[in-house]
């Protein structure tokens, strides 16, 4: 038995596949806001229940800005930078978010449906020509979100190998050294600065062009904020969705009865996507802390001003107070108010885009290849290690 004062080492374990460490469930029952000790920055609190997780993510007494440059508890060596949207509180946060929010509303994203379908159809054509077998990661999971975010932002798709490598390093936790991560960040920034300069010479109406205009004509953001916003959009816009497409298909293939159920009733795709978002713990662990700006009572403990709180959305998504049979996949689950896209001011900007991509990818894949199956035994599939998010190195499939 751990007493409240004794901190557990966090992350609890190196993530294995898509499994969620059972410690989360124990903590939800016994110590919903627990002391944890991180690899960097010492001790903080970890919230594991749905209600507390939502509170920390939406209550302004928990601040992101207060983490900037500080030696707060974290999983990566680098300290939080202050020029990204994820490290800001309102009203600075709103200033940046408003610049692009319009382009990501459900209504605007719906207009991209035909284009996303076309991209998926072309990718599946190519897979069909070349396989079976085929690697679903290279064949679909990566190129779909990369194409979509490149076209929205106005980043050349042909540069994808360069920014994929930088992006991978930025999301490295233990897979790369601090120097490698810094090097990647510097190269990524120089690359974005180049694209921005192009738009200063030749204005464009893509999202980077709109942001450059907001900077140059209306002084809505600084040059550093502009560059980092471009990086954030490019990285967040593809890493998460790409990994989840692979994780979704892997999970369905590991549960063939669920795969069959979905294939036989494709009307379930929207609810299936929500359920897989809920069920699959994309993050390897809770990652970016928030800091209490005043004393706050949370889940039976007193979080003192200045203390850091981490939230596990993966754990919140398995909270039996909110979800019936939380550890079971139910592709028809109703009222699925999961927090896979976060909650509060930082609620995922790209949530509607991610949903669109995931729905079209799943539906088209199962329509095109109804006999889809793993091309190697499912236990032999290899997950990347030492990253912020979980995903497969390759996903060999046959049909």
């Amino acid at each position: 038995m751990t007493t409240a004062g004794e901190a557990r080492t966090y992350p609890f374990s190196e993530a294995r596949g898509l499994e969620l460490d059972p410690t989360y469930r124990a903590l939800r029952d016994e110590q919903p806001v627990a002391r944890v000790r991180l690899p960097y920055g010492g001790e903080g609190w970890l919230a594991t229940r749905y209600a507390d997780v939502k509170t920390v993510m939406s209550d302004p007494r928990f601040s992101r800005a207060a983490t900037v440059g500080k030696d707060i508890p974290r999983t990566t060596p680098a300290r939080q930078q202050g020029t990204t949207i994820l490290s800001m509180d309102p009203p600075e946060h709103s200033r940046l978010r408003k610049l692009v929010a319009k382009a990501f509303t459900a209504r605007q994203i719906e207009r991209l449906r035909a284009r996303a379908q076309q991209v998926v159809d072309e990718l599946l054509d190519r897979m069909a020509e070349q396989g079976p077998p085929a690697d679903l990661v290279e064949g679909l999971a990566l190129p779909l979100p990369i194409t979509m975010i490149c076209e929205m932002l106005g980043v050349p798709f042909d540069d994808r190998d360069r920014f994929r490598a930088w992006s991978d390093q930025l999301l490295g936790v233990t897979a790369f050294t601090a120097e490698e991560i810094e090097q990647a960040r510097a190269e990524f920034r120089a690359y974005l600065a180049g694209l921005i300069e192009q738009r200063r010479r030749t204005p464009s109406d893509d999202m980077l062009g709109v942001l450059v205009q907001a900077r140059d004509e209306d002084d809505k953001l600084t040059e550093d904020e502009l560059v980092d916003f471009g990086i954030t959009l490019l990285v967040a816009g593809h890493e998460t969705t790409a990994n989840q497409i692979g994780n979704f298909v892997y999970t369905l293939m590991a549960n063939p009865e669920q795969l069959a159920k979905l294939r036989d009733n494709l009307d379930l795709v929207p609810s299936a996507v929500e359920e897989l978002l809920r069920f699959i713990p994309l993050g390897n662990s809770a990652a970016f802390a928030r800091v209490a700006v005043e004393d706050v009572e949370l889940g039976g403990v007193l979080v003192k001003a200045g203390e850091a709180v981490l939230v596990s959305t993966a754990s919140a998504n398995r909270d039996a107070q909110v979800f019936d049979n939380p550890d079971q996949i139910d592709l028809e689950r109703q009222d699925n108010a999961h927090v896979a896209f976060g909650h509060g001011v930082h609620h995922c900007l790209g949530a509607q885009l991610a949903r669109l991509e995931l729905q079209i990818a799943l539906k088209s894949l199962l329509t095109r290849f109804p006999t889809l199956r793993p091309a190697v035994p499912i236990e032999e599939m290899v997950f990347k290690q030492g990253r912020l998010v979980r995903g497969l190195s390759a996903l060999p499939v046959a049909w």
Partner: protein, 76 residues
């Protein structure tokens, strides 16, 4: 002075409970059972309210000039 006031509405059927407005303008919105509600329908003009309406991912928030009915946010 009431002419300047804003009328705030949330379309509960459209709201997806993201909590963005609650985090952006905590004095003006609250979530009840995963649906946002304005704490007061009539408010003095406030940037945070405009920010919330401009940021809502499903455009469920409508802010109008209470006297004229003119839409203040979101911008079309």
């Amino acid at each position: 002075m009431t002419e300047g006031r804003w009328r705030v509405e949330v379309d509960g059927a459209t709201c997806i409970g993201s909590g963005l407005c609650v985090g952006t303008a905590p004095d003006h919105f609250e979530l009840v059972k995963d649906t946002s509600h304005p704490i007061n329908e009539l408010v003095e003009p406030a940037e945070a309210v405009r920010d919330a309406a401009e940021s809502c991912p499903v455009e469920a928030i409508l802010v109008r000039n209470a006297a004229t009915g003119e839409v203040v946010a979101p911008e079309q």
